[in-house]
Symmetry: C2
Subunit: 285 residues, 2 copies
């Protein structure tokens, strides 16, 4: 560990290495090269523990709620009665934790390709991962695309909580083939959400992903949330379905029942998150 007048830092560079975020590290908790990727978990002063894959931050404990609530509750409340849910990626368990807040849920399949992510998160990040041991949850350590291609009309909600589309494990999850498999794995009134990067440093990749998605789903809509733990803080999600419009007008009472466990999402946020800045609308139209 460094001396008193120096410090250990973790930097995440993006935008071709031209811009980055810098975090003072109090303690390195876990650092391992799994068969698939490098896994790092470190302790910070203000953000709690930080979890990174291949040098890209997946979450910090202090602010992960913004991302996990918004990737989860927008599709979950858009569906009138979600029972069977599939989460692809998301081995940290944050999305599953949010899914399980819905009392209608009977079954959650989590497909996380890397078993060492599950192990590390269960051990060091119980605030997100402890719900992975819930009896309603089944964890599958395999490629998400292969898994979903075997499923037909089975899920009410599919959530793609993946790494970035550029490389590695997440790459196959941003293709027309994958999105078509997701559509087929959904029931007729099923709904879908996916993380879709930020328009500040990844605008072109985002545009490509939405174009792929539109080939698979008749209804695709971007929505946004403040996710301060990711580059630029300006996060875009994709909502998709065969026929379920997400901009509902009702069921405020169902949301209010979960209110005490929600810190970002609320009834008005649901609808307003689909209102996007002009430049983003033009990029994705």
């Amino acid at each position: 560990m460094p001396k008193e007048n120096s410090s250990l830092h973790f930097d995440e560079m993006f935008c071709n290495g031209n811009v980055g975020s810098l975090f003072r590290v109090n303690k390195l908790i876990y650092s391992k090269q799994s068969k698939i990727q490098r896994i790092d978990i470190f302790e910070t002063t203000d953000l709690g523990k930080v979890f990174a894959l291949d040098g890209v931050i997946m979450l910090n404990e202090r602010w992960e709620f913004t991302y996990h609530e918004m990737i989860t509750h927008v599709p979950m409340f858009s569906h009138s009665n979600p029972k069977n849910v599939l989460v692809i990626g998301g081995g940290d368990g944050g999305t599953v934790r949010e899914v399980l807040k819905h009392p209608s849920v009977e079954k959650v399949d989590l497909v996380e390709i890397d078993p060492e992510v599950i192990d590390a998160c269960k051990k060091y990040l119980p605030s997100t991962a402890s719900k992975l041991s819930d009896p309603r949850v089944s964890v599958y350590n395999e490629d998400g695309k292969g898994f979903v291609m075997r499923k037909h009309s089975e899920y009410d909600v599919i959530i793609v909580d993946s790494t970035d589309p550029y490389k590695g494990a997440g790459k196959s999850l941003f293709t027309e083939e994958f999105y078509t498999a997701c559509r087929n794995a959904l029931k007729e009134n099923g709904v879908f959400s996916a993380e879709a990067e930020n328009p500040v440093y990844d605008g072109k990749e985002m545009e490509r992903c939405f174009n792929e998605m539109k080939k698979a789903f008749p209804m695709v809509k971007p929505y946004t949330a403040f996710v301060p733990m990711y580059p630029s803080g300006f996060w875009v999600f994709a909502y998709a379905s065969k026929n379920v419009d997400p901009t509902f007008k009702g069921d405020e009472s169902r949301i209010k029942k979960l209110a005490s466990s929600l810190f970002y999402y609320n009834f008005k946020i649901h609808e307003s998150s689909f209102v996007i800045p002009t430049f983003l609308g033009k990029l994705l139209e």
Copy 2:
């Protein structure tokens, strides 16, 4: 300048130095200690020129539109016919540029304490500063608080485009005394906006500012925008007035007339920017 395999970086640290942003600098354009603060302007690859005061980034050319449109058009469109406008701070000229897009505007007073900021921005940042030479604009190089305390029932809109509240030039602009002077300087149906920091790294300071503002104005409402050039990207603004509710229902046609010159703000964004995440509502309620 650095060799090919090294680079010059600018870092902005926040959160007590525990978190920061890092930018590769292609070229240092301007760096000077004025009587008030250090002024830096440097060139980057993807963000255009970056302008910083005392090491805190004020803008980058690529993304300044999000901040300048939202601090300006929310109050400007909340007022039915803004003619006389006061901008406090904002020596880069971005806010004045947005104000002047409104054809009703007859007169803009800009109070920027540091004349060297004006000079540097006019020379190196014409994309924001060129409108400071518009005949409707008067620039006053003095303390914003002293200026506004001499004014009574004069302005339709007051916009406080200041530096941070912690120290230096911006400090006096986050007090009850200053906000009361702004209220008195507004006409009866006048409206007010101010930058109000981010809740991720400055939650306590933000809470204090809103509490001061509520002592001066009967109506104070937070609204938000993605401002990727600032820490966390999650920016909060304060709207205040004696009696004008900002969540209008009409005048979409007035907004549409400016549509071709707006890249972030639109009719729906106006209203949705006042919908805030649950935790922020609790912090500021």
